[in-house]
């Protein structure tokens, strides 16, 4: 067996069934091993797309995503996706080929110092320098990608190591449990329970760390036992039971008014696997300024990074949540929050024939089958999806949160469809974002992946245009996309049928046609370029200073 065969065997040992990549000179021995491997390789059409598919696979399933690229340009094309996985804590293993060790450091053809490039975009990265280390390095990569706060790990393998002979006896995979997590001191748990019991206006601020700890059931039990309003970050949407009367929606820059107002008024903020990101907090020192804070996370570096907690717990959310459950006494506050929710509910009455994206997305949400996965791109449509669609698990809503990477949606949907072939998978894109990884239509065509693509087309880089309108005195610099291609014809070139709509009365039939069609489908939805996302917390403002459509 050579090093390349070993790579494929170790992937098999870790239960990997699908990998995403693109071949090239320095990774050819591994592609030769793929030729005989039972693991299915999905050829992407750009390494960034392949790695986003690995992310979509990982985020929709909870498993590790695996992607491959050759040295030099293949490896540099991975960087954006690695950064995306890093900022959204996605478990991923990226394998890159490297030029042979004999020529490393000589500016050899397609040689780039990918280890150096990887430092700020990976949780860990390794250059394999000896065939004897290869097996252990790969096992360690899987362990690191999944343990603690998950993240991407890059393994760079020089070509001579891929072809070097190695003993065929493989070690067994060590199954790692979460037992090595710190346990929280009993007195800290007591302190947390006391804070919760004493709070008059508590609120749960829920982040992606909850579902990544597989603690959705524990969260929902906690919210039942310790009755309190809750808000979620973009990554945590779908964590709270759909029928929870005190769930106020997403908070932050484009959050609901109820969520932002309630958080600003609370006297106890229970931060669960979230990180006080600036898109969430607005002006940091005004964020929930009167509140005591309980912060629970698995990453020690998040505690006291941006907000000093009154009570901090490091460890496994699954164990901590039941241990801090306690009855609350905050009925008037619950009623107040429910009132905020009613008072500031979404309105879908929109004049005229033109399609109103929030209403369309609400209809889409109501029409899509249970357990559908929605993969978003970045911009106004992304915020509308978060505001107007309902999810029953965070694995069903994949959105590039921390990095906010345009081009995420389509390839992520490919990965999600492969991870969950029996669930409906949608990519909701903007006309700008769609074009950033449009080549992945080729991947959909080749594997006949029945992904449903919805393009919300405002002929603009809408989110940037909105900021130009509001904060740059209507100087619309380079945000006009009115010369977009014909998206339906473009899809047809990849054997994907599609349909274009621009009026409200066309929506219901168009959705029906898309969902009843067995294969991939593209729905091109034309909207008014003037539509904006509301409410909005202006940059530098406190979260209660939201502007709404009518106040702007």
């Amino acid at each position: 067996m050579n090093g390349a065969d070993l790579v494929m065997k170790v992937l098999e040992q870790h239960g990997v069934d699908s990998i995403f990549g693109y071949p090239g000179g320095a990774i050819m021995p591994i592609y030769d091993a793929i030729y005989h491997s039972p693991i299915k390789h999905y050829l992407c059409r750009h390494e960034q797309g392949g790695a986003f598919s690995a992310i979509g696979y990982a985020r929709s399933s909870g498993k590790v995503g695996v992607c491959l690229a050759t040295s030099g340009p293949g490896a540099t094309n991975l960087i954006t996706s690695l950064a995306d996985a890093m900022l959204d804590s996605v478990p991923m293993v990226a394998i890159t080929g490297q030029v042979p060790q004999a020529v490393m450091g000589t500016d050899a053809f397609q040689e780039i110092d990918v280890l150096g490039l990887s430092l700020s975009v990976t949780k860990h990265s390794v250059l394999v320098e000896d065939i004897q280390q290869l097996e252990a390095t790969l096992h360690e990569a899987f362990r690191i990608a999944q343990s603690g706060r998950p993240g991407p790990v890059l393994v760079d393998i020089p070509k001579n190591i891929q072809v070097a002979e190695v003993s065929a006896a493989l070690h067994e995979v060590q199954r790692h449990t979460t037992n090595d997590l710190e346990t929280v001191e009993p007195h800290t748990l007591t302190q947390a329970r006391q804070l919760i019991a004493a709070a008059k206006q508590p609120i749960a601020y829920i982040g992606g760390g909850v579902h990544m700890a597989d603690a959705i059931a524990e969260l929902q039990q906690f919210l039942t036992a310790s009755s309190m309003p809750s808000v979620t970050t973009l990554k945590a949407m779908g964590s709270v039971a759909k029928d929870d009367p005190y769930y106020l929606g997403m908070l932050g820059m484009h959050g609901t008014q109820a969520a932002n107002l309630a958080v600003q008024q609370c006297d106890l903020l229970i931060c669960l696997g979230a990180r006080f990101d600036d898109r969430v907090t607005g002006k940091l020192d005004t964020f929930a300024a009167g509140a005591k804070v309980i912060h629970i996370d698995i990453d020690p570096a998040e505690i006291n990074k941006l907000r000093q907690p009154d009570c901090a717990m490091l460890g496994d959310m699954k164990q901590i949540l039941p241990a801090i459950s306690t009855a609350t006494a905050c009925q008037p506050w619950l009623e107040h929050c429910q009132q905020l929710k009613q008072q500031h509910g979404w309105r879908y009455d929109h004049p005229g024939e033109r399609i109103y994206a929030p209403l369309l997305l609400k209809q889409l949400s109501e029409r899509m089958p249970d357990n559908s996965v929605v993969c978003c791109d970045v911009g106004q449509h992304q915020m509308w999806v978060a505001q107007h669609m309902r999810f029953d698990h965070p694995r069903n809503h994949l959105s590039s949160g921390g990095l906010g990477t345009m081009g995420f949606g389509l390839p992520a949907a490919i990965g999600a469809k492969l991870a969950r072939p029996h669930d409906t998978v949608l990519a909701v894109s903007g006309d700008g974002s769609f074009m950033m990884n449009v080549q992945e239509l080729g991947t959909i065509k080749r594997f006949r992946l029945p992904v449903k693509i919805v393009i919300i087309d405002n002929q603009r880089l809408g989110m940037v245009k909105q900021w130009q309108q509001l904060f740059f005195n209507e100087r619309y610099s380079e945000t006009d996309l009115s010369d977009n291609p014909d998206f339906v014809a473009l899809a047809a070139a990849f054997a994907i049928p599609g349909h274009r709509i621009s009026r409200k009365d066309e929506v219901a039939d168009a959705l029906e046609a898309m969902f009843t069609w067995q294969g991939p489908y593209l729905l091109h939805v034309c909207i008014d370029e003037k539509d904006n996302v509301w409410p909005l917390v202006p940059p530098g403002a406190a979260n209660e200073q939201m502007i709404t459509e009518h106040s702007s």
């Binding site: 280890l115 150096g116 430092l119 990265s125 250059l127 690191i144 990453d299 570096a301 006291n304 990074k305």
Partner: protein, 84 residues
């Protein structure tokens, strides 16, 4: 504040770059650096001095997360104490 971090790492060629990258990115100014290999390729001993107005846990917590960092000890003295 002046802080001296004594760090023991695994023997990885890239480890020094990692420490320096995190220190720079997190906004801490490097004031001194000493490095020596531990016996028998057991790893490296790195002594990093930084000057900063920020709480030092913002750096040490991040450095501790690096897979190659095995041990980290912190000694801090205020500048005024140093001058005295």
């Amino acid at each position: 504040m002046n802080h001296v971090l004594t760090i023991q790492t695994r023997n990885q060629a890239v480890v020094l770059e990692r420490l320096l990258q995190v220190t720079r990115y997190r906004g801490f100014q490097l004031a001194g650096l000493e490095m020596k290999p531990l016996a028998e390729h057991a790893g490296l001993l790195i002594i990093l001095s930084v000057v900063t107005d920020k709480p030092i846990h913002l750096l040490t917590n991040q450095l501790n997360k690096l897979v190659d960092v095995e041990q980290l000890e912190l000694a801090s003295e205020t500048l005024t104490a140093l001058r005295a």
